[in-house]
């Protein structure tokens, strides 16, 4: 009998900070202590709290260890697993003091987890993704069994429609409607495609689902295949996600071996199989028509819609294409019912949404919240607030296609329609928090640089237009722009939105438009006053030394890499602005606060 489980996070985040070595150390130490027969090691997917990784959880008590190192493992084994005394110094310290004072806080009681609602992530960090038996123990493949033995394709589609599930990839199109269109298209051959080409900077929701619960996606794709009458599926996943790719391969192999993929599944006569296609990492391939073109073996470029993929998709056949997280909800909806799903969320956005929290936030990681949760709850409670005593300035959602939500709108309930109304969008779920030291013009420039790089070049508005916008932004951040440039920027943005061929170009100006809408004064400060209020844009900065405060200690002069600081010992120093490269080393070196930036 196994009396305890040690769960070690095997997500990309914790793996890159050394959870492989921790796993090896546990194997070694458990064997040495003769505990290998009664303690099971499990390599799971992402727990969500990536900021404090590598994460190790010990069950049944649920002890939550954070920032574990391989050197800590002997102590965990001899103290906790042998003698039953949890290693206090390694236990996770909650941001909330009242929680911190409780004894033996389990994962679900922490401030980070307690307001989350895990549907798509329900198995992530719970099961071993490389063992189909553990998935089956958690009701895995029961939804597919139910669908194939007791539901008609129309029943399935009606359940999905009634649940109110909308596409989690960004657009928010009702999933059931998409399936209806594909079902109604008459054809011998149809396809089910999973869009796992997650490309937004800072987004890792889909990767974590694939790494933590790959079977949930496979099972949902088979259900979708049954609903629309397809027998073949493709998962288009980035080659830069090696762990996700590996686990998908293992999962597909195990499902085939058990007859959960392949011919005559559950004796129903229904056949379904899935092929993996690795994407080379072009952002445009997240756009559905470009993705399909890429699967077909061609250069990933979008094609005009209509015809929509549901009518004429992969290899010219009717195709549904859904995002990873969308599929991850499907099995739960089938098992628990449309009403259960529709009971979560807001009027028009049902269920939950996974966000990858990043940027200036204490708890960097993966969170799943019911739709309609306010941004304030996500940032201040679950996220643990902005670190280093800084003020919250804005949150960016939707990546290069989305926009910024300023601090004044922090109480906005997050759902598809509210985010669109305030000029941002849900996107796939990247949520980047920015503090007062962030320059909004610089952020807009960052995202535009990304889209300029990633524009496929097929249509002129996107290829040329975004490049021209970037040039104007560069002028602004260098203090060389005029107010006319701001108008030009806005005109160009609107033109690109209206005239680009695909979603990439149509949404590329959003970061600029939304920052112009909420932070216009910052743009004006760059243009008129030639100042960057956040002190980020180097060209508009100058460093100087306050002679009142300077003690002439020479520390800054010795550190300055450009030899720009001069002055005699115990006399006030000065900075030669001609030589200064604005690296800021003097400012961080000075112990008297004498260096000022402005």
């Amino acid at each position: 009998m196994i009396r305890a489980h040690v769960l070690i996070c095997g997500g990309t985040g914790c793996t890159s900070s050394g959870s492989d070595k921790i796993h090896e150390a546990f194997e070694r130490e458990l064997a040495a202590a003769d505990l290998a027969g009664e303690i099971k090691l499990v390599r799971t997917g992402c727990f969500g709290l990536c900021a404090v990784g590598p994460v190790v959880i010990v069950h049944p008590d649920g002890t939550f260890y954070s920032r574990v190192k391989a050197e800590d493992v002997p102590e965990i084994v001899s103290e906790h697993l042998l003698k039953g005394r949890p290693v206090k110094r390694l236990e996770y310290k909650d941001v909330d003091e009242s929680v911190r004072e409780q004894v033996n806080v389990s994962l679900n009681d922490t401030t980070f987890y307690k307001t989350q609602k895990r549907v798509a992530l329900r198995n992530c960090g719970v099961i071993d993704p490389e063992d189909i038996n553990e998935y089956i123990a958690m009701d895995g493949y029961a939804a597919l069994g139910k669908v194939l033995t007791s539901m008609t394709p129309d029943d399935v589609i009606k359940t999905i429609l009634d649940s109110g599930l909308r596409g989690r990839g960004g657009g928010g199109f009702p999933t059931g409607l998409k399936w209806t269109f594909a079902k109604n298209s008459v054809s011998e051959k149809k396809y089910v495609v999973c869009n796992a080409d997650e490309g937004d900077p800072g987004a890792f929701m889909d990767r974590s689902i694939l790494e933590g619960d790959p079977h949930a996606v496979l099972e949902a794709m088979a259900i979708a295949g049954y609903a629309i009458g397809a027998d073949e599926g493709y998962i288009y996943v980035r080659a830069e996600y090696p762990i996700a790719v590996h686990r998908l391969q293992v999962a597909i192999g195990q499902a085939r071996e058990m007859g959960l993929l392949g011919k005559d599944i559950f004796g129903s006569g229904f056949n379904f199989d899935i092929t993996l296609r690795l994407g080379a990492g072009a952002f445009v391939c997240g756009e559905e028509t470009a993705l399909l073109t890429s699967i077909e073996g061609n250069r990933g470029e979008p094609r005009p819609r209509p015809p929509f993929p549901a009518v004429k998709g992969l290899f010219g056949q009717p195709t549904i294409i859904n995002n990873v997280e969308t599929y991850a909800n499907v099995c739960q909806i089938i098992l628990k019912g449309a009403d259960w799903f529709a009971s979560m969320g807001t009027e028009k956005s049902k269920g939950t949404k996974v966000f990858a929290l990043g940027g200036n936030i204490t708890n960097t990681g993966l969170v799943e919240i019911p739709m309609g949760t306010t941004l304030r709850e996500v940032v201040e409670q679950i996220g643990g607030g902005v670190p280093n005593g800084k003020k919250f300035k804005a949150a960016q959602t939707g990546g290069p296609s989305g926009g910024c939500i300023p601090a004044s709108l922090i109480d906005t309930p997050i759902d598809y329609d509210n985010l669109i109304a305030i000029g941002s969008m849900m996107g796939s779920g990247g949520l980047i928090v920015m503090d007062e030291d962030t320059c909004m013009v610089d952020i807009a420039k960052f995202f535009l640089e990304f889209t300029v790089d990633e524009s496929c070049g097929k249509c002129a508005p996107c290829r040329i237009g975004t490049r021209r916008m970037l040039e104007i932004l560069e002028k602004i951040t260098h203090g060389q722009a005029t107010m006319e440039d701001l108008d030009k920027l806005e005109d160009l943005a609107k033109y690109i939105k209206e005239n680009s061929a695909c979603g990439l170009g149509q949404t590329a100006p959003n970061p600029v438009l939304s920052t112009l809408r909420y932070f216009r004064d910052e743009y004006v400060a760059h243009v008129v006053d030639k100042k960057c209020p956040a002190g980020v844009c180097k060209a508009l900065l100058s460093y100087s030394i306050d002679p009142e405060k300077c003690r002439g200690c020479t520390a800054c002069a010795r550190k300055c890499p450009a030899d720009a600081i001069s002055g005699a010992v115990k006399q006030p120093h000065t900075i030669d602005t001609q030589k200064c490269i604005k690296c800021g080393v003097c400012m961080s070196t000075c112990r008297f606060g004498a260096v000022v930036k402005g």
Binding site: I2, R3, L82, K83, E134, I136, I265, F266
Partner: protein, 122 residues
């Protein structure tokens, strides 16, 4: 996979593999594993509980875990059977042979083995 029954049977069989992660079972056997306990031979007692609970198919209800020194070192090995709905029962002077009887009578059949409890030892 040919039928729902086959899947259900496999699921039942596999449930035991993950049930620990949903928290403790309704009954917890807590073995004192402080230095005094280990010196008095608590390690094989813990091992016996782990084996016997599995043999009796009680893994879905019973969690075996350990704790530190309870303070009655003269009675080691010491353990307690904690039932969520009843007062916990402390057993003392517990070598592995006696542990088997506790599993069979107390954990399986629900009858406290009075003669091994702390009340009788005093």
């Amino acid at each position: 996979m040919k039928s729902l029954e086959e899947l259900a049977a496999l699921r039942e069989q596999m449930k035991n593999r993950v049930i620990l992660r949903e928290g403790s079972g309704s009954i917890r056997v807590v073995v004192g594993m402080a230095t005094c306990g280990i010196a008095a031979g608590a390690r094989p007692v813990l091992g016996t509980f782990v084996e016997e609970v599995a043999k009796e198919n009680l893994t879905d209800r019973v969690t075996v875990s350990q704790t530190g020194c309870i303070g009655i070192c003269q009675y080691e090995p010491v353990l307690a059977v904690c039932d969520a709905h009843k007062a916990s029962v402390p057993y003392v002077n517990m070598p592995p042979e006696k542990a088997k009887r506790v599993v069979a009578e107390h954990l399986r059949d629900g009858k406290v083995v009075e003669e091994y409890t702390i009340g009788k030892a005093e």
